[in-house]
Amino acid sequence: MDKNQILDAVQNIFRDNFDDDTLVITPATSAQDIEDWDSLEQINLLTAMEKKFGIKFKLEDVRNLNNVGDILELIARLSA
C-alpha cells in the first residue's frame, strides 16, 4: 500500500468517525483542526486503523502522534 492509498483509507476512517462525508485531511491536519478530535476520539481512530490495516500499535507507538502525518508514517512503518 503506497502513501496515497494509506491517506485515502485514513481519510475514510476520519469521515466515518466524525460522521462527515466531506472531511478532507492532509498530513498537516491535527486535533486543532477538527472540533471533535479529542483524546477519546483519538483512541477510536487508532482502534479503527488497527482493524483496517491489520496492525497492532504498541504502547510507545501511540505516544507523540501530533498530526495525521505522524499517523500515516506509523502505519507505513508497521505495515511495511
Partner: protein, 596 residues
C-alpha cells in the same frame, strides 16, 4: 438491520457512533433517566456507547460523569454534586484494576484473609453509600488478573491472586443477593466470554486506562444497558416461536413427528433439544411462550407430544399454528394476552418471515437465527429478558395468563358481563403498602405501562419510605377468583395536602382489566380518605404512547377535568360525596393480606 443487536460489529459501532446517535435521537417520547457513572478506570467512551444502547432500549439518558478513578471518594464523601444530580441509576465502573493490595506468593492464609476483608469492605462501602441516593446501584464484579506468577496454584492457594478474585466475587454475590436495589454486572463473565487475552488488553490499560479492550466496550455497554432497562421494566415479555427448523429440525407436516430432528440421536437433534431447554428456562422466569407457525394445528402438536420433546403443548400460552400471515398471528396474540406487540421477540429461522415482521411490526425484536447450534446464544446475548429480580409472580406468570384464558372461555356462557363477573367469585385484598410486599409493588410500578395514569417510576427506597409516612396514603390490591390467585395487581400512591389527596400514581396490571378491580381500588381509596378527614381528590393523566387506554379514566369514575395542556396532560378534581356508595359490586373484600 439493527446495528446494535447481537451479533453486532463492535468496530462499526465505535466508528459510526455519531451517526447512530443522530438516528436514535429521532425516537420521540422516550422516558428520561438520570444515570451517574462513577469511575474506577476511564469511562469517557462508556458514556457514549451506553447512551446508544439505552436509546435503543427506549431510554433517554442524562449523564453525570465521576472524576477519573474517584468512585470511592465521590460515593462515600459526596460533595453534594451526586445528590444534586438526583440519579435514577448509579453505575460503579470498577474492575480488578481497582484492587489495591493483592496477596503476594509469600502471604500467609491469615494475611490473605485480612487483605480480602480489606478490599471487599472498600467496595461494599462504596456500593452501600450509593444506595443512600435511593436508586438502583450497579457494581461490577472482578475480572481475573492477566498474570499468575504461581500458575495453576494461584487457583487453590489462599495467597493466589486468582483465588483472591474468585473469593471477592463470591462475597460480592452474597452482598448483592442480600441487598435490595444492588445489582452486579458480571464483568468476570464478560471477560470469559471473549477470553482474557482479547478482553483484558494491556495496551488499552497502560495507554488509556481502559479496564478492557476498546473493541469490547460496546459489549460491556450492551450488557450494562440490559440491567438498566430491566430495572425500569423495559424487558421483553413474550416469545413468538416458529416450529419447523426453529424448535425442531425438518418439516413436521412432511416428515411426521417421528421424522423431525429432535433428541440425542443426532447432533442436529441435540442442538434443537438444548434450544428447547433454553426456551423452557425462559418460561420458568415468566417469559410467555407462544407458537406462531405455518402448520396444521394437529401436526404441530404432534411434535410436542414426542416423549423426548423438552417443550410440551402446555408450556405455551397461545398456540397459533395456521396459514395466516405470522404478523397477523402475532398482533392477535398480543391482543389476546393483553400486552403490546413490541413486548414480543419473534424467533424464526426463515429470513423472509423475519423481514415481514420487521416491516409490519417494527417494535417487535427479531433476532437473526442462522443455525440451530447458535439459536440459544443469539437469544441469550441480546439480553431481551434480563432478570434483576425474580418474584413468585414471575415464576407463576404463565399459569396466571392461562387462567385468564379459562376465564375468557367461561365468559361466553353468560348472558351479561356482570353475571359473568359475579360467577368468578372474586375476592380482593386492599391494604396500605407494607414491607413484606414492597418489592412486588415496586416491580409492578416500574413495569406497568398501559393502565398507568402518570407513568411515574419509584425506587424500592422511595416505596419503602411511604410505608407509615403520614404524608402519603397508599393502597395495593390483591385479586383472586375461582380460577386462581393473581397476586398483587394494582397500586395507588396519594400525597396528602391538607384536606386533599393528590393521586401521584395509579396503576393496574393488564391481567385484571375489565374486572371492576379499578372500581374496588377507588372504593377503598375513598374509604381511607374519609377515615383521615380528606374531602377531595386530585388526579392527573400524562399521555405516553402506551397508556391511551386510561386517557378518559378519571372522567368515567366521576372526576371533573380542571386543566388540560396542549400536550394532553390533564388534571381532575373529585369531591367525595357525603353519601358515597361503592362502585364495585362484584369483588368481596378479605381482611388479611396473603403471602406473596
Amino acid at each position: 438491520m439493527n446495528l446494535l443487536s447481537y451479533p453486532f460489529d463492535s468496530g462499526e459501532i465505535l466508528q459510526k457512533k455519531r451517526r447512530l446517535k443522530k438516528m436514535l435521537n429521532e425516537k420521540e417520547g422516550l422516558p428520561e433517566k438520570r444515570i451517574a457513572i462513577l469511575s474506577g478506570s476511564t469511562i469517557g467512551e462508556i458514556q457514549n456507547l451506553l447512551e446508544l444502547f439505552l436509546l435503543d432500549n427506549g431510554i433517554r439518558p442524562v449523564f453525570h460523569q465521576g472524576e477519573y478513578s474517584l468512585f470511592y471518594e465521590e460515593l462515600v464523601f459526596d460533595d453534594g454534586s451526586l445528590k444534586a444530580f438526583a440519579p435514577d441509576i448509579i453505575y460503579i465502573h470498577t474492575s480488578s484494576r481497582n484492587i489495591r493490595h493483592w496477596p503476594s506468593p509469600a502471604a500467609s492464609a491469615q494475611e490473605a484473609e485480612a487483605l480480602l476483608e480489606d478490599e471487599y469492605s472498600r467496595f461494599e462501602k462504596a456500593a452501600l453509600a450509593g444506595l443512600r441516593f435511593g436508586c438502583p446501584v450497579i457494581l461490577n464484579n472482578f475480572d481475573l488478573p492477566v498474570t499468575r506468577p504461581m500458575g495453576n496454584y494461584e487457583a487453590s492457594s489462599p495467597a493466589g491472586k486468582v483465588r483472591f478474585v474468585r473469593r471477592l466475587n463470591e462475597k460480592l454475590a452474597q452482598l448483592a443477593d442480600n441487598t435490595p436495589n444492588l445489582y452486579l454486572q458480571d464483568l468476570a463473565y464478560l471477560q470469559a466470554q471473549f477470553g482474557m487475552d482479547s478482553f483484558s488488553d494491556q495496551t488499552a490499560w497502560y495507554a488509556y486506562k481502559y479496564c478492557c479492550a476498546i473493541d469490547k466496550l460496546p459489549d460491556l455497554c450492551c450488557n450494562l444497558a440490559a440491567i438498566i432497562k430491566s430495572c425500569f421494566g423495559l424487558n421483553k415479555k413474550a416469545l413468538a416461536l416458529d416450529l419447523d427448523n426453529t424448535l425442531w429440525g425438518g418439516i413436521i407436516g412432511d416428515d411426521g413427528p417421528e421424522g423431525i430432528q429432535l433428541g440425542s440421536e443426532s447432533p442436529t437433534g441435540m442442538a434443537y433439544s438444548e434450544f428447547q431447554q433454553y426456551i423452557k428456562d425462559l418460561g420458568q422466569m415468566g417469559v410467555l411462550l407462544n407458537v406462531d407457525s405455518k402448520n396444521e394445528p394437529a401436526n404441530a402438536k404432534e411434535g410436542f407430544a414426542r416423549e423426548d420433546s423438552v417443550l410440551k403443548e402446555e408450556d405455551f400460552l397461545c398456540f397459533k399454528a395456521n396459514w395466516e400471515p405470522k404478523s397477523q398471528n402475532l398482533s392477535a396474540m398480543a391482543k389476546e394476552i393483553n400486552i403490546l406487540p413490541e413486548s414480543f421477540v419473534f424467533v424464526d429461522d426463515n429470513p423472509a418471515e423475519r423481514e415481514i415482521i420487521r416491516q409490519q411490526l417494527p417494535g417487535v425484536a427479531v433476532p437473526e437465527m442462522t443455525a440451530p447450534e447458535e439459536y440459544a446464544r443469539v437469544l441469550d446475548r441480546n439480553r431481551y429478558f434480563e432478570v434483576t429480580t425474580l418474584s413468585a409472580d414471575d415464576r407463576n406468570r404463565a399459569r396466571m395468563y392461562k387462567e385468564n384464558y379459562q376465564r375468557t372461555a367461561a365468559q361466553e356462557n353468560f348472558g351479561s358481563y356482570e353475571e359473568y363477573l359475579k360467577s368468578l367469585e372474586m375476592t380482593g385484598g386492599f391494604y396500605p403498602f407494607d414491607m413484606e410486599h414492597a418489592p412486588r409493588i415496586t416491580q409492578l410500578i416500574n413495569k406497568t405501562n398501559q393502565f398507568n395514569l402518570t407513568t411515574r417510576r419509584y425506587s424500592a427506597a422511595q416505596v419503602e419510605g411511604m410505608i407509615q409516612s403520614p404524608e402519603y396514603i397508599t393502597l395495593y390490591g390483591q385479586l383472586a377468583d375461582k380460577f386462581g390467585d393473581n397476586g398483587i395487581v394494582s397500586a395507588i400512591i396519594g400525597h396528602r395536602e391538607d384536606n386533599n389527596l393528590d393521586i401521584e400514581l395509579w396503576i393496574m396490571s393488564c391481567r385484571t382489566f375489565k374486572r371492576q378491580m379499578e372500581f374496588a381500588m377507588f372504593d377503598h381509596l375513598v374509604e381511607a380518605c374519609r377515615n383521615s378527614g380528606i374531602t377531595t381528590l386530585t388526579g392527573h393523566y400524562s399521555p405516553t404512547p402506551k397508556n391511551l387506554l386510561v386517557q378518559d379514566f378519571y372522567g368515567t369514575i366521576g372526576f371533573e377535568e380542571t386543566e388540560c395542556d396542549d400536550q394532553g396532560n390533564k388534571s381532575y378534581l373529585y369531591r367525595i360525596p357525603e353519601d358515597f356508595s361503592p362502585m364495585c359490586q362484584v369483588i368481596q373484600s378479605q381482611s388479611n393480606p396473603t403471602k406473596e
